[in-house]
């Protein structure tokens, strides 16, 4: 039995990460700057005479989120590595799964904040009417972000002491999150179709929910053993 509660530990870790980020602004600024830079590169490459290829916006949104999310994951855990504070968290008498959830909540929050900036920019640059169905879009973005971050947080924590962690993280992460990217892109495309098919949108959203349920459960189950050595 752990001596500290799960929820209280999660809250403490989230509050600590938020305080550190507010002071340094390192991860938020670099992630946002990188994401906007990615969008601009795609816009310069693909937009001709003010018109983007049909359906490009949805793919570019998710590709940008994936790249920026990978950067955020790496930077977040680099911070815990520099003074070995991740070891201090693992030494505390708290459920290790709570440490995982605390880090996951922080990363999801950061990526959702980045998405708040990215979505209007994608609409502007690529003419994709992403905000036509905002609630559906929010559902797909939130579930997709949780799925991506659930796998990414586990892998980033596992690799924190690996020498080539910056290379290994995307190599391990991207093949596993392919279903999230496919469901995210196809689900977002369904929202901007001139004829909105609820069944299709619901299917992709359900797929994202299922992915989240499976991978969050797996990560909670495996975080303790993989961090024990």
């Amino acid at each position: 039995m752990s001596t500290q509660g799960f929820g209280a530990t999660v809250l403490r870790i989230v509050r600590k990460d938020l305080t550190v980020e507010v002071r340094s602004r390192e991860v938020a600024y670099t992630t946002l700057f990188f994401a906007v830079s990615c969008l601009l590169v795609f816009a310069f490459a693909l937009v001709r005479e003010g018109r983007a290829p049909e359906g490009a916006g949805e793919g570019i949104l998710w590709a940008t989120l994936t790249f920026a999310g990978t950067l955020a994951l790496g930077r977040t855990f680099e911070r815990e590595r520099q003074s070995e504070t991740l070891r201090a968290l693992l030494l505390a008498p708290v459920p290790r799964a709570a440490v995982y959830v605390g880090k996951l909540v922080g990363i999801v929050g950061l990526l959702l904040a980045v998405e708040v900036v990215l979505v209007p920019l994608v609409t502007l640059f690529f003419g994709a009417p992403l905000l036509k169905r905002p609630l559906w879009l929010a559902g797909i973005l939130v579930t997709g972000t949780i799925g991506f971050a659930a796998v990414g947080t586990l892998f980033a924590a596992m690799l924190v002491r690996a020498r080539s962690r910056d290379v290994l993280l995307p190599v391990l992460l991207y093949p596993v999150v392919v279903p999230v990217l496919i469901a995210g892109v196809r689900g977002t495309s369904a929202l901007v179709d001139p004829v909105f098919d609820v069944a299709i949108a619901r299917f992709w959203l359900a797929l994202l929910f299922a992915f989240d349920a499976v991978f969050v459960t797996l990560a909670l189950w495996t975080f303790e053993p993989v961090m024990s050595d």
Binding site: T3, Q4, K16, T19, R23, E84, L91, P93
Partner: protein, 243 residues
């Protein structure tokens, strides 16, 4: 196991002895530790001494529960295997890196870890720790602006904030000036008087003179000799490792 009313943590788990029995650890094909055994009781200060790569940090990592031994066991008390989280609630670890968040203030660092360990009366406990570290006047400054010595003192208080039974210190004298090193020696003696078990790995052999109840000399992952109460640690080190 006995409950400890003086503990800062809310955990009731406690122990009087630590017994390391035949612990080995391999990293791939390289063996970092070979069958190391020793025991410690309340009030003991154990020195783990040896050249770089001797296995000192690996041994501390295993005793701290962060590393699993490839073979052998570590027993905390006499009542058989305990819940790892309960054991961790009675461990205080000062690593070679300091386990501090540089962006947080001294007070925030101590408060965060005191809360993680479920300490009662966190604010008063943190104030006491800041006073002991000589950082009361810098309590609300970010740790990033501290000298190495100040961070070392803060890190020591972080490791001790929950009154652990077993204190594991990896190079605790690093970066300390003479006055701070003397203060640390006094603190270690106070921990001994208070019934704590201290295991410290250090290269500062002269500072350990007259401090250790037992010195473990390691080389290439093997325990060469266990010397009880060495008065001249450097002489004992040269004698054992020079053979």
């Amino acid at each position: 196991m006995t409950p400890d009313a003086t503990s800062g943590s809310t955990s009731t788990f406690d122990f009087d002895t630590v017994v390391v029995n035949g612990v080995s650890r391999a990293y791939g094909r390289r063996r970092a530790l070979h069958g190391v055994s020793f025991g410690a009781s309340r009030g003991d200060i154990i020195g783990v001494l040896g050249p770089n790569g001797a296995g000192k940090s690996t041994l501390l990592g295993i005793v701290s529960t962060l590393l699993r031994p490839t073979s052998g066991t570590v027993a905390y008390g006499t009542s058989g295997p305990a819940d790892p989280a309960a054991v961790r609630s009675r461990l205080g670890v000062l690593g070679h890196d300091l386990f501090l968040y540089p962006e947080l203030t001294a007070r925030e660092n101590l408060t965060f870890f005191a809360a993680l360990y479920g300490c009662a009366h966190v604010a008063a406990r943190v104030d006491d720790a800041l006073a002991r570290a000589g950082l009361a006047s810098r309590a609300d400054d970010a740790a990033v602006g501290f000298s190495r010595g100040m961070r070392q003192r803060l890190a020591l208080e972080r490791a001790l904030i929950h009154d652990p039974r077993l204190v594991l210190l990896d190079e605790p004298f690093t970066g300390l000036d003479e006055a701070s090193a003397s203060a640390l020696l006094a603190r270690l003696r106070a921990l001994r008087a208070d019934g704590r078990i201290v295991v410290l790995a250090t290269h500062d052999l002269d500072l350990a003179d007259g401090l250790l109840d037992k010195a473990l000399f390691l080389r290439d992952g093997r325990l060469l000799e266990e010397v009880a109460r060495p008065e001249r640690v450097r002489a004992a080190y040269k004698d054992v490792l020079g053979r």
